[in-house]
Symmetry: C2
Subunit: 245 residues, 2 copies
Amino acid sequence: MLELKGSPPDCAHRRETGGCAFCAARPFSVCASVPDADLDRLDALAEKMSLAADQPLFHEGDPADHVFNITSGSLRLYQLMPDGRRHVAGFLFAGDFIGLATGADYVCTAEAMEPVTLCRFRRSDYAELMTDRRELETALLSRAGHELAAARARMLLLGRKSAIERVASFLLDLPQSDPLRPTGPGQVRLPMTRGEIADYLGLTLETVSRCLSRLKRNGMVRQVTLNDLRVERIEALRDLAEGAT
Amino acid sequence: MLELKGSPPDCAHRRETGGCAFCAARPFSVCASVPDADLDRLDALAEKMSLAADQPLFHEGDPADHVFNITSGSLRLYQLMPDGRRHVAGFLFAGDFIGLATGADYVCTAEAMEPVTLCRFRRSDYAELMTDRRELETALLSRAGHELAAARARMLLLGRKSAIERVASFLLDLPQSDPLRPTGPGQVRLPMTRGEIADYLGLTLETVSRCLSRLKRNGMVRQVTLNDLRVERIEALRDLAEGAT
DNA sequence: CGTTCTCTTGACCAGCATCAAAATTTGTGG
DNA sequence: CCACAAATTTTGATGCTGGTCAAGAGAACG
């Protein structure tokens, strides 16, 4: 394992952990495909780091020299248009891999939504590791397939669903994203702001707020705290999300 | 090579070709990663088939037993919502691979837009081939990365761009998709209907038509024939597409 | 507590959808 | 090749969903 001492770099504070063998996120990440016998090598390449809430991991346009595995917490990924319009490309949680879609530069900015820990790898190191450990490449391909399927579902949402359908779909999909914080049945934790949800769903924050209010009025969801909802009528919500007539 | 005689099956007409070694689409497809020495094996697994315009390749919900490589022509991929709303997931051309994002069932319907030829592989066969020929898996992973990047760009388009910006982006992106029919500079061939473009861009066919008319009035594009446009002011169109203020 | 930030709600507006009809293109049979 | 029918595209009139602007209500933080 790589031990790093001294003052943290400008945007990231490295820390020490128990190593890959003890990583709580490993079962949910592509690292699960690396056999125990090779964990030392993975450990040697992994640079553990952590970010405080709202700290950036990288910016749109930065050279994409690293790939990452999230070990805890959550990140938002977003793109900006020249006039300031923002599109939130995704919310990432423990087990998620960053670097599948990258060319020479990052096309998104990544920022912590809450305290985050992650492993950073040099891209070249990771490519080499993939050459030697095929299962890793297979795992990445499988993950890419799932992301493509998710992307397709989201394009349907953005292209053809109404505001209320989008919000309903969002509430149904979100709980599955954070494996380290398994919510009770119907529990939905919203670590992001209304504005971020809006930019993720192609709406405005006012519309998101109005839709949530409507769902509460309908009795489909109940507000436990500001950022914790509870789905009361999941079947009805599902029908709404799929656009059943 | 597999030689198939007799009457064609209900929706597909198999045919004979010169084999992989002579395939015009190979340089643009994942097959390019298979070394010449192994082309016999690829040939043996590939089932050559062709579709007439508007014939389906598979339907949403069918068991996803096969993957495909398009060797010529073009396909549309779409999903339907229960009430009939349609989302066109993509237009595919020579060199494109179908089957990256598939789980047990196809999530889209695939139909020919014009006469199409393609190679069909049993998924299990293809998986086995990948196990032996790693370069193939690497090529698929690379392709998946590109598709993810494209999906991200399209989600930005669907989530945050105005109608005219979407149409402008579409006209700029489309020509790069068909490697076998390299258009002259500024030439844009539209093998799909206005309705299909609309369902691809999250608009209605009337809005697409109005936007095209506006671009013509502005002198940004000129109509050569109904399905052949010519971009006259590419810089202006690019600015429009990116939402430069 | 008071300041600040986020969320909610309301009033109004604009962009795109819907509905409808005319124009153009495509296909067919003579 | 022309005439007619069917399909697609274009254009116009009108309406609705969701955006914009603005004010007030809760939370969060010092």
